[in-house]
Amino acid sequence: MSVRHSAGSFLRGLALSLSKPYLAVSLWLIQLLLSSVLILPISNILHDLLDRSVAGSRMVANPDWGWWETLQREHPDLLGNLSALSAGILTPEGVKSGQLPGLQGIGATAIALAMLGVVLHAFALGGIFGTLREPRASLVTFGREGMRRFPAFLAFTLAALAAAGAAYRWIYLETGEALTRRAQELDTEGKALAVTGLRLLALLLALAAIKLAADSVRAIWVARPDLPPISRFFTGLGGVFSRPLRLFGVLLWYVAVTLGLYLIWLVADPSAGGEARLALVPLILTQQVFVFVRLLVKVGYYAGISDALSRDPSPEYSYVPPAPASPPPESAATL
């Protein structure tokens, strides 16, 4: 039953997403701009190093391991030290924010962009959830709703982010630390992999619960403007407990469809083989169409979550505005 319900919610969400493509376009633009800021210095050095290099021509089609190693070695300032420091930032002992000032190069930019990304993510989700509930909406609605919900949604996003970090630390890192020696003493690698798999599964379930809780709160926050904020928040949390399978099902459909898209991409890989497969402009178009389709699915997921929470029989999660008061009968007026 839950499978049918969740599939129905997910499909209706997809249909809603397709009917409001500007939502996916908004997300696409945000991600494109963020990634462009990150990639611009890399692109510049790519052109600087490869455009006139004889070795560059053999990289049109295929990645070159040597070039990557040489770039890291010859231009350490460009790539920075994110990979070296990332392991030291979120540790079993907690977040070592003292590592952040040591970041250099693209790594430092990536951290700054990630913070900006969190803010934009909160804004975009406010816009998406708000717009999804408007029967006749537009990009203007998206912007208005995004700003209107921004403070609350930013708080939800930061709380979910902190919860996800805590889950990673306590469920995955700490257990890994505690089990390292014991895992080495197991009879077989298969058993050790199973232990890692269980840790990973526990982490994924925790992250899924955090995500569903955050999205449920967001959806209810928009759907029940008649409730006071505290009630809205707890009603949103309650939404997860009232129909966990249906919401989890919607999430699973979303993950499955997204992974399917990636699988198709990796198998088809239009960028492999160089120009023999696809010239530059068609390649860029194909890449961006893929990103856009994926974002349509993402918006569809959010719509599916709203649908799963607000669809009958669940009037408690759906606010129905009172019918406008009917005008007094004309005869009475005359009296």
């Binding site: 990634s35 052109h47 990645p63 391991w65 040597g66 690698e189 160089g274 990103v291």
Partner: protein, 664 residues
């Protein structure tokens, strides 16, 4: 050093007697070289106490021209005795990136006597010839009551007990699995200059003299059929009580003896036969969860026996045992011992990634450089590890093609679609630390373990691959063969290889080795400038009919073609001769060789065809060149590669950003 007092030989160990020696029971046939240090050992494994109790009969001959009044012994299990050993201090308690467990190992000599029953134990003392560490017990010296004259043979009987550590580096146990290496008191190498008997170091392997081994191993009966060792098994005997079983192995002309046991082993047999090479019985001791990789192991072993044998001469021993260590015992993997190697793999080893093939081929290759030639790995680690890496790359490249890097996610390995070519990509770690140390350094003298690996392994492999390209591969093979034939069983050094190269080619290549091994310099050549512009008419005053007039004469007034300037720089400190090619439109090329000594050289072409590109080292002979991407410049830029990689980068950054916002 305080030595345990002599006590009765462990009763369960069959005591060796002088009469056994006199009957010649321990002298295997088919010696490939006159023995210097031969051993008869009876050992008993106690799986409860994790100890090996043994009796050893050493027959040692002084083959130098000087008498010696001392003997020196390796007691290498004492490296694991406590945290004050030289090994532990150098490694900082880490082995292959992992923290070593607090599981200690040791070897104690309980009795040491000469043939006339002279008790030598009071004359035993601990020494630390490398670093003077008074807490290191890995080398012992015993003062003899009378010198051993040149050509004289001395026999020493020892009782010892070896405590095995939980395996973290090269030797020890894990559960029921045992890799028992460096486990018995072993005599050092006496050279004309004195004893060469180094301590156990974190970054060094071993150096010993050749002899014949006859070893009996008494293990619990549950290990029946699951014991592998150096040499050929010649006897299997179950104890009267039926709870123990004794295996006897014999091998002539080797310089160490190692054994392994695990009741879980799957025993896979194979036989190598190839015209022109020696037949070899192969035994693969495989962990059950790796059974699907048996064929991969065996294919790699056969490729190695063939590939190395074709260049360096046949592997001369009858047996080869390949050990696949179990999960949690990777510290026992990737090691070489005479006629026995340990490899290693994982459950998720992708077919396109050379694991376990790479380690199998490499460890087999040590049978030549560490085994037959027996270079001094302490003082010239590159003559084993580096030469072997060079040969490993050749075999792997010929048999398997390019390797692929793996993405390790949650213990599973996924191959990436990027080619890692041999030998350049497989040895790239060298470039990251190329200038930290003089490349030819003693094994424990490198700045850190990364530099040791980069220099001893990768630098040498790249230097030899460069030499191969300068000499031609046929000349290189002839030099290697001459070196291997000339120095088999004789502990050669780098200068002996240089002599082989010189003798093969008829030219003196010492300069090449001085520059590549004797310095800490880096090689890097670059085309710094490649311009080709339409030739312009000269301006100014020119002579015409004996007068200076404005403007050039008619012949110069309308220039044709292009003026080209190419500048090639030597960026690295090390100079090697390099070829330079200038390619012009119309298919014309200019090729020359530059000795590379100056910091730069320049080429000018006036009114010639338009230059397309200038390339230094166009045939990629100088594999030591740290940055190959500055080796060629095009006149006209080609934006395609950078544009496509920019598009890819943006695409994956978009996906990454989206992924990071999924969870919250």
């Amino acid at each position: 050093m305080r030595w345990a007092k002599a006590r009765a030989i462990v009763p369960a160990v069959a005591a060796l007697t002088w009469s056994a020696v006199s009957r010649g029971e321990s002298a295997p046939s088919a010696d490939l070289t006159p023995p210097i240090a031969s051993y008869e050992i009876s050992a008993r494994l106690d799986t409860e106490k994790k100890t090996v109790e043994g009796t050893e009969l050493l027959t040692w001959t002084n083959r130098t021209s000087h008498p010696t009044s001392t003997l020196r012994f390796h007691l290498y299990l004492n490296a694991f005795r406590n945290t004050r050993s030289t090994f532990w201090r150098e490694s900082k308690g880490k082995a292959r990136g992992k923290t070593m467990p607090d599981s200690w190992g040791s070897v104690e000599i309980l009795r040491m006597t000469l043939e006339d029953n002279t008790d030598l134990l009071p004359a035993v003392s601990s020494i630390a010839p490398d670093d003077g560490n008074p807490d290191d017990r890995t080398v012992a010296e015993v003062r003899l009551p009378r010198p051993v004259e040149p050509g004289q043979t001395v026999r020493v009987a020892l009782d010892f007990v070896s405590r095995l550590p939980r395996v973290s580096r090269r030797t020890g146990y894990k559960g029921d699995f045992y890799l028992v290496a460096q486990w018995f008191p072993k005599v050092g190498v006496l050279q004309e200059s004195g004893w060469n008997c180094h301590q156990f170091h974190a970054t060094s392997e071993f150096f010993s003299d050749f002899g014949n081994y006859d070893v009996s191993l008494d293990v619990p009966v549950r290990y029946r059929g699951k014991v592998g060792a150096t040499g050929r098994q010649v006897e299997e005997r179950v104890s009267p009580a039926g709870d123990r079983i004794t295996y006897r192995f014999r091998q002539a002309s080797v310089h160490d003896f190692t054994w392994t046991a695990d009741p879980a082993f799957l025993v896979v047999g194979d036989h190598f036969h190839e015209a022109g090479l020696h037949d070899v019985d192969i035994t693969l001791l495989l962990e059950p969860e790796h059974r699907r990789q048996a064929d991969r192991y065996l294919k790699a072993v056969r490729a190695a026996i063939s590939g190395y044998g074709r260049v360096l001469g046949p592997y001369p021993y009858d047996t080869l045992t390949v050990v696949d260590p179990p999960w949690g015992a990777s510290g026992a993997g990737g090691m070489e011992y005479p006629t026995l190697i340990t490899a290693g793999t994982s459950l998720s080893a992708p077919a396109s990634v050379h694991e376990p093939e790479g380690v199998t081929v490499h460890e087999f290759g040590h049978q030549f450089f560490y085994g037959l030639l027996a270079s001094n790995e302490f003082e010239e680690p590159y003559t084993d590890e580096g030469f072997n890496t060079y040969m490993t790359d050749r075999v792997l490249s010929a048999v398997y093609g390019a390797d692929h890097p793996v993405l390790n996610l949650f213990g599973l390995r996924f191959p990436l679609g990027i080619d890692q070519r041999y030998p350049v990509d497989s040895n790239r770690r060298f470039f990251a630390s190329a200038t930290r140390d003089v490349h030819a350094t003693w094994s424990w003298g490198y700045r850190d373990v990364e530099t040791y690996g980069a220099d001893a392994y990768s630098h040498t492999a790249l230097a030899l691959a460069t030499l191969e390209r300068l000499l031609t591969i046929n000349a290189m093979d002839r030099a290697l063969r001459l070196y291997a034939d000339r120095w088999r069983f004789r502990h050669p050094s780098l200068k002996d290889f240089i002599a082989a190269v010189n003798d093969t080619t008829g030219r003196d290549w010492t300069w090449f080795f001085q520059r590549t091994f004797g310095s800490s310099g880096q090689v890097d050549y670059a085309v710094d400038q490649a311009e080709s512009v339409p030739a312009k008419a000269p301006r100014g005053l020119f002579e015409k009919d004996g007068k200076l007039v404005a403007g050039p004469p008619e012949a110069l007034a309308t220039p044709k073609g292009y003026d080209t300037v190419v500048t090639v720089r030597r960026i690295g400190e090390t100079a090697l001769p390099v070829e330079i090619v200038l390619r012009f439109e119309g298919g014309r090329t200019f090729r020359t060789t530059w000795d590379g000594e100056a910091r730069w050289t320049r080429f000018r072409v006036s009114q010639g065809p338009r230059l397309i590109e200038a390339v230094v080292d166009p045939d990629e002979k100088i594999l030591l060149d740290a940055n190959r991407f500055n080796n060629g410049l095009r006149v006209k830029p080609d934006l395609r590669a950078a544009s496509r990689w920019t598009a890819r980068s943006v695409f994956w950054a978009q996906n990454l950003i989206d992924f990071l916002t999924v969870a919250w």
